[in-house]
Amino acid sequence: MGTEIELKSLIPEGTADCRKSGIFKLYDRENLFDYMDGGAELYLSYDFQKLLVQQYKAKEKEITVEIYQMETSEDAFGVFSLEQEGEFLQIENKAFYSSGLLKLWKDNYFVRLMDISGNDKLKDVILDLGKKVSSKIDKKGKLPELLSKLPQEGKILNSEKFFHKQIVLNNLYFLSTENLLNLDEKTSAVMADYSIGKMNLKLLLISYPDSSQANLALGNFCKKYLKTTPSGKRIIQKVEEDKFIGLELEKNYLWVTFEGKDKVKTREFLQNLKRD
């Protein structure tokens, strides 16, 4: 998977309004830092394989096309899920556009097309180019199964973020400098925003390799964050700013809610979670 030829075949010559400019650059796990320095860890946490970067010229401006190849379509969706904002477009699976940036996900590829000017002057060109790249990817890919466990009621549209590691969690919702939930490459997690009546909350669902590891994570989080010992499989505790944290352990899954302002509603939310 991920040969130079495969990636090269995804870049179009151009459109009626833009042409390729210069030779593409290729990056792998070893040299991704040369392209984005501290940004590389984000992609590496999603089992990044290769990146191809090609410039295009359009109306005296430049469009940068980045095609990221991940090992799996789930991880390509994961990195895409962090950028689900802007105008929703149905380019194959899912795409978003805003201010000169088009982001799309298809199979194990995440694609960014950008005019850094930050305006919409090249919007049509960028969308045309994006469709051409997308049409060269045969398969659609599949969403992470974990997403299907999220309750649909009250979920804010396109708020779900799929990831594996602590570094991504801390970007989405800073919890601690310590890895209190024992997240690593073997865990899968999804975080989403909910609006329940007048209450907003964040739901984090983590899948561990087995139930004992889920149990360990619960214990660690309770001890170090809540400063308590878990007394069962469901815990609701008040923290600062009159907010409640809820935890629910179910086999190898750990559900955590943050920011809930109502204890009863937080409990009801946890009770109504979809279980296997």
């Binding site: 830092f33 040369d34 392209y35 984005m36 320095d37 501290g38 940004g39 860890e41 984000l42 950028e83 802007g86 805003s98 201010s99 000169g100 940036l101 960014r112 950008m114 005019d115 850094i116 000017s117 930050g118 590691k165 602590q166 570094i167 801390n170 970007n171 989405l172 919702y173 800073f174 919890l175 601690s176 400098t177 310590e178 890895n179 209190l180 170090k224 964050y225 923290v239 600062e240 700013e241």
Partner: protein
């Protein structure tokens, strides 16, 4: 890495640690800080609404005036060149550490800095412009930068070893892994082991780099390019989160410069969302650069901030 930091969201909200960071982010009032030490670190913020046009082209004349006025103010001089001459002599070999990736420092600014070094008497062959191991020597190579000098055993760029003086020319970005990337983070491009600092604890040890004796003793000037900063995400750019701030921040103290930049980025985020939108993760490395590594001050009561030029949208 030594001395791991244990810090949680709960500590942050309670304000029981990282007080100066909480103040910079607007979570606590500056009055909670008390300064026994009277020495102030001067930081100059200068802006001009005409430095960028609609097509984001830099007006070099305006930028020249900004840099000159800013330097004059920073040094308490009538003209900027007087400070350049105080800081750099014809005997110096000067390394200009720029940032070339993802919203890079502007070439026009680099050109002005090299021009000022020449005016101060530094020889053209003794000016090194670099990021990572891509180096240009003198004005003819300042944009091409194809030379490589490698790194020493202690991981520092050989440019640092070769130079007698350094200038840190950094960008102004939020950063998904470290919270923010200003002058402290810029040094990650001057070592060959940056991954050791890009850690899951919000890159808490980044503040150690400007405190490395060779960097601390040689770095004489910090120039932060705040012409078009990034206030969300980063280093990878979403143009939606770039804005024309049209500013430069000048100083001698990494932590004071970064604390000032942090207040602006946080202010922009709050303005954009019309509510508190705290950087995530919190840029702990800025405070730790002060409290743990003694690389400078993050205490607002110890920073003498001079604000010059365009006031609208200054956010300070």
């Amino acid at each position: 890495m030594e001395g791991k930091v244990n810090f949680t969201r709960r500590d942050f909200i309670k304000g029981t640690a990282f007080t100066s960071l909480a103040v910079a982010l607007g979570l606590l009032s500056p009055e909670v800080l008390s300064s026994e030490q009277r020495k102030l670190e001067r930081v100059v913020l200068i802006r001009d609404k005409d430095v960028l046009n609609e097509d984001l082209i830099v007006d070099k004349k305006v930028l020249y005036e900004m840099l000159d006025s800013g330097m004059a103010s920073l040094g308490g001089e009538k003209e900027g060149i007087a400070l350049w001459k105080k800081l750099f002599s014809p005997k110096d070999v000067v390394g200009v550490k720029i940032n070339v990736k993802m919203a890079p420092t502007h070439n026009e600014l680099i050109e002005l800095i090299v021009g000022n070094l020449l005016k101060a008497g530094v020889e053209d062959k003794n000016i090194y412009i670099w990021d990572q191991d891509k180096i240009g020597i003198g004005s003819a190579e300042m944009f091409s930068r194809t030379r490589k000098l490698g790194y020493a055993k202690d991981h520092l760029s050989n440019v640092i070893k070769k130079c007698t003086a350094l200038i840190n020319v950094c960008g102004m970005k939020s950063h998904w892994l470290s919270g923010a990337a200003f002058s402290i983070k810029n040094w990650a491009g001057a070592i060959d082991n940056p991954f050791e600092y890009h850690t899951e604890d919000c890159c808490s040890t980044l503040g150690k780099i400007p405190a490395i004796p060779e960097i601390k003793s040689k770095c004489r000037l910090i120039i932060l390019d705040g012409l078009r900063p990034l206030f969300n995400g980063g280093p990878q750019v979403d143009p939606k989160y770039l804005w024309n701030y049209n500013g430069l921040i000048l100083g001698f103290d990494h932590v004071a410069v970064d604390t000032t930049a942090l207040r602006i980025i946080q202010g922009k985020r709050d303005e954009y969302k019309k509510e508190k939108w705290i950087l995530s993760p919190p840029p702990l490395h800025i405070t730790l650069a002060d409290t743990k590594y003694k690389a400078g001050t993050s205490d607002l009561s110890k920073i003498e901030l001079i604000k010059l030029g365009w006031k609208e949208g200054m956010l300070l």
